[in-house]
Amino acid sequence: MTEHTAHLARVPGPLRLFWRALKAIIWKDLAAELRSRELLSAMLVFSLLVLLIFNFALELDAKTRSTVTAGVLWVTFAFAGTLGLNRSMATEKDRGCLDGLLLAPVDRSAIYFGKASGNLVFMFIVEAIVLPVYSLLYNTNLLYPGLLLVILLGSIGYVAVGTLLASMAVQTRTRDVLLPILLFPLVIPVMIAAVKASTGFLEGIAMVDIRPWLNLLVVYDIIFVAVAFMVFDFVVEE
């Protein structure tokens, strides 16, 4: 009897298998990035360049900054994000890794969530460096807990849609060009809500006025994570 139960305990349930596959995929992406560092360095240098261009294009003096900081930050994140999303899927496709992943006996949704989590981590790393750099360059403090919450919610929505569309875009003829064209019109709600909520926190506007934007971000995240999870199968099937 005890032998029997012991045997049962050793067979992992479907949920355990899912977690294991998810962790393996995230770990694979992080390990590959740790060794090559080609994706993160590209995203980082690119976002610093975008900040630099904004500095000259908008004449970021103290008065302008108070109104445009959130916009500048989110445009930077969005641009660097497409770069990362494109690269992360292109490496899978070019080296035939995606086929290997699809052959693995794991749930397809684990592949989606694994890739999305990996992309989210890269996005967070870029944001974690851009924010202090911006604070340092312009001598302001951006590390409000509220702003961090907005960045968390906004990045989740952006990456959820972005990972799905990137895996579509890499399978087309026009790949790199196509991703931003597919992605940006769909993430406009995220961008608007994130910029508005960020500005709200930076300017110390009452929570009552910020809450609708946060709600919108949460709703967007839930809807698009769920839908992407449902349709990912159709995007990678051959």
Binding site: V161, L165, M168, T172, T174, L182, P185, P189, K196
Partner: protein, 232 residues
């Protein structure tokens, strides 16, 4: 190619006659609006084309779901047909709205929620066309098209909501409580009749064009398959 069905021929003629009647109603039956004058007459077709646009995008999202379940080519053809037609009609909506906006708001364009949402919607479906153009394999093109049509349609209400949270000046003529909307008016019975008839006529136009486009799509499909057979 099978001959044109009898019902479609009848529908063609009926739609053409109804359209002429609708134009007549807009110009001669509907009364002149007091403050805005003649330009208000654009309203009837402006709303009707917008209705056709949204209808087509909805149809595309629904047949997209059906395609993903059934994997039958005809659902993909229907989805593409609906989006192509709606792209054109939605563009007409934006242009006719601009023509209306110039005299009543004093500008061709404002960043009002509906105008902005309409533009973003137009861009979403332009992206849909570009996505399809970039894929050679018909099955993959159909799958990706269906997925993007679903995602696009889901994002529309959220986009509208997000821009709506900023203030609007667009009039809400039907069932609206937006009294601040500039260029809003109350509808007379004759206006309402013309308006509802326009909606009906444009629905007929949509069905008629849709039918034609699906037939064309089927033909294009046949040609593509023959071409692929020639290559291999």
């Amino acid at each position: 190619m099978e001959p044109k069905p009898r019902l479609l021929q009848i529908l063609d003629v009926l739609t053409a006659i109804m359209f002429v009647v609708a134009v007549g109603m807009v110009f001669f039956y509907a009364p002149l609006e007091r403050t805005m004058g003649q330009v208000q007459r654009v309203f009837y077709f402006h709303v009707a084309t917008a209705w056709v646009g949204m209808l087509g995008f909805l149809v595309a999202a629904i047949v997209g779901v059906i395609y993903l379940i059934r994997k039958e080519r005809r659902w993909d053809i229907a989805g593409l047909a609906a989006i192509e037609i709606s792209l054109v009609f939605f563009f007409i909506t934006i242009v006719s709205g601009s023509i209306w906006a110039r005299p009543s708001w004093g500008t061709w364009w404002t960043w009002d929620p509906r105008l902005t949402t309409a533009t973003i919607v137009e861009l979403v479906y332009a992206a849909y066309m570009m996505l399809r153009a970039g894929i050679e394999d018909p099955d993959r093109r159909a799958r990706f098209g269906a997925v993007y049509a679903i995602l696009g349609f889901l994002s529309v209400p959220l986009t509208f909501l997000s821009i709506r949270l900023l203030r609007t000046i667009h009039p809400v003529v039907i069932g609206g409580e937006n009294a601040e909307g500039e260029g809003s008016f109350n509808m007379e019975p004759a206006m309402l009749q013309t308006f509802l008839f326009s909606l009906l006529v444009f629905s007929f136009i949509f069905v008629d064009l849709f039918w034609h486009r699906v037939r064309l799509g089927r033909l294009a499909d046949k040609v593509e398959q023959l071409r692929l057979k020639m290559i291999h």
